[in-house]
Amino acid sequence: MAETVEIRWHGRGGQGTVTAAKVLADACLSGGRYVQAFPEYGPERAGAPLRAYNRVSSKELRMHCPVLNPDIVAVADATLLDSINTAEGAKDNTIFIVNTSKDPKEVREKLKAVQSQKVFSLDATKIAIECFGRALPNSPMLGAVCKITGLIPLEHLLEDVKKSFGKKFSQKIIDGNLAATKRGYEEVKEG
């Protein structure tokens, strides 16, 4: 991985996208790395498109502005592919990870991704419903981001998911999210 990895998350209000960025930042702290996690703040409404960002670096992060040219674009809601330009500012080697029930090849076409850009997909919403009964794709998305970026080992991420969800939720929900994170890690595939 490069010295600094910049991630842009696309989601809709209420899907847990901001939480995902926060959990990822916390999990990436290991090894003396520097991290940032921040959403784009606007009027916060359930269902409205939102962006969140991560930076992970081996050197001190001084930049305090949105990520313009992301290394990773994580799309937690495939309907956003029709309404906003999720490829904005993408580089030649940007990696896309999209939550969709569609084949990753179809997603690649929709994104108009060039050959050097990798596109991955997973059905994070289905995984979430099967694991804990709610259409909250953030934990399987985290599993997928963990697998594709290789920023942290899965066990490490699971510990952080447990820590983060453990503050607010019942054991059943925590276990469901852990299972969903694991499945996201395992089921993400390239298109």
Binding site: A25, L29, G32, Y34, V35, Q36, A37, Y41, H64, C65
Partner: protein
């Protein structure tokens, strides 16, 4: 042992306050207040601190309650932001005039109208002349470190003044980044026991605060406030020295970044300074001698030291995230005052940027540095004060 965490600026400041465990905290819990005080209220509720909270019906009352508690002889804190600080304005003068060392993190956000609570320095700049010490912070770490140091500065027996610790709204206050906490015991020892000075709750020696002073002595009283401000710089530096021994992190009156041999420089506060430093490194790699001065102590302002740091530059842009409509930006006015007394001084321009949370991007810093580079090579200044990144 320091503990490395990924937290928001608000969480960092709330924890600094928790580690100090002051006697009284005035809290007005509604927007534009941030979750800093919400977090502190949960520390109180969970028994992590023994602070007595006073929930009030407005920020004006919050500062009034703090003044009462501080005059009574307590170590007192609160926090505020935006309109909240504006509503406190009357009471801010009373806190400083009564020489009460209240510590208050200020999450810098815009003022209405139109309604906006995003990152902007208008709130604290509006409180510039209230007699409070102001310390500004680039990131979560500095916000935390400055909050801890603020107690030692404000409560110093030669000073006894209230202190605002400023951090950028949302950009720092609500964003998560890596930082290091000191141990609770280390902070407690560093800050030390609160020392009372002429408390009201002393039946042996009754006294009064804020009495009527007429034309015979008011002038002298204000002169005394000016005098005490002249002593603040030395105390800030002494406290910073002790803090460096504890934490390894170095603080001064301002930060000089690659300024020693710089031809062109930015003067810029808080989080945007960080973004600018990355761009300055790029310019340096291309052989352009660029540097940056980031004020930390804004009140009192270190005029002589800032002039010394900037005197060898050719062109300087002072960047303001607040405006004095019909005037120059507030930071620009300080830097021009600082440089006026030099025989030879750099050309100065003023850019207003990032109002109401408008993102300050690396491209903005590039634009300004390119313009400075032209000026340094003998180009003319077209406009002294200009808004940066305006949508036309």
């Amino acid at each position: 042992m320091a503990k490395v965490v990924a937290v928001t600026g608000n969480e960092a400041c709330a924890n600094a306050l928790r580690q100090v465990n002051p006697d009284v905290c005035g809290i007005y819990p509604i927007t534009p207040q941030t979750d800093m005080m919400q977090r502190y209220a949960s520390f109180i509720a969970n028994g992590k601190v023994t602070t007595e909270s006073i929930l009030v019906e407005s920020e004006h009352s919050s500062m009034s309650a703090c003044i009462g508690a501080a005059a009574a002889g307590g170590r007192v804190i609160t926090a505020t932001s935006s309109q909240g600080l504006a509503l406190m304005w009357e009471m801010l003068h009373i806190a400083s005039g009564d020489r009460l060392p209240i510590i208050m993190p200020v999450v810098n956000r815009a003022l209405s109208a139109p309604l906006n609570i995003h990152g902007d320095h208008s709130d604290a700049m509006g409180a510039r002349d209230t007699g409070w010490i102001q310390i500004w912070s680039e990131n979560a770490q500095e916000s935390y470190d400055n909050t801890i140091q603020a107690f030692r500065i404000g409560e110093h027996m030669d000073i006894r003044l209230p202190v605002m610790v400023c951090l950028d709204g949302f950009i720092i206050s609500h964003s998560i980044e890596r930082m290091e906490y000191l141990e609770d015991g280390e902070v407690r020892d560093f800050v030390g026991e609160f020392k009372n000075f002429l408390p009201l709750l002393d039946l042996e020696k009754p006294k009064s605060y804020g009495p009527l002073i007429l034309t015979d002595l008011y002038h002298e009283y204000k002169r005394a406030q000016h005098e005490v401000m002249t002593k603040v710089k030395d105390v800030v530096l002494d406290v910073a020295k002790d803090f460096e021994k504890l934490s390894g992190r170095k603080y001064g009156l301002f930060e000089s970044y690659r300024l020693e041999d710089a031809d062109i420089a930015l003067v810029i506060l808080n989080s945007a300074a960080g973004t600018s430093k990355d761009v300055i490194d790029e310019f340096r790699q291309r052989g352009v001698k660029a540097g940056l001065l980031k004020p930390r102590l804004f009140r009192p302002f270190p005029y002589e030291e800032a002039a010394e740091a900037l005197k060898n530059t050719k062109a300087v842009c002072v960047m303001d995230r607040a405006d004095s409509f019909g005037g120059y930006g507030p930071l620009f006015m300080e830097i021009t005052s600082a440089l006026y007394h030099l025989k030879e001084r750099p050309v100065l321009i003023n850019k207003i940027y990032g109002l109401g949370g408008r993102d300050y991007m690396p491209s903005h810093a590039e634009l300004v540095l390119n313009e400075l580079n032209e000026i340094a090579k003998g180009g003319k200044v077209k406009i002294i004060k200009e808004y940066l990144g305006v949508r036309e």
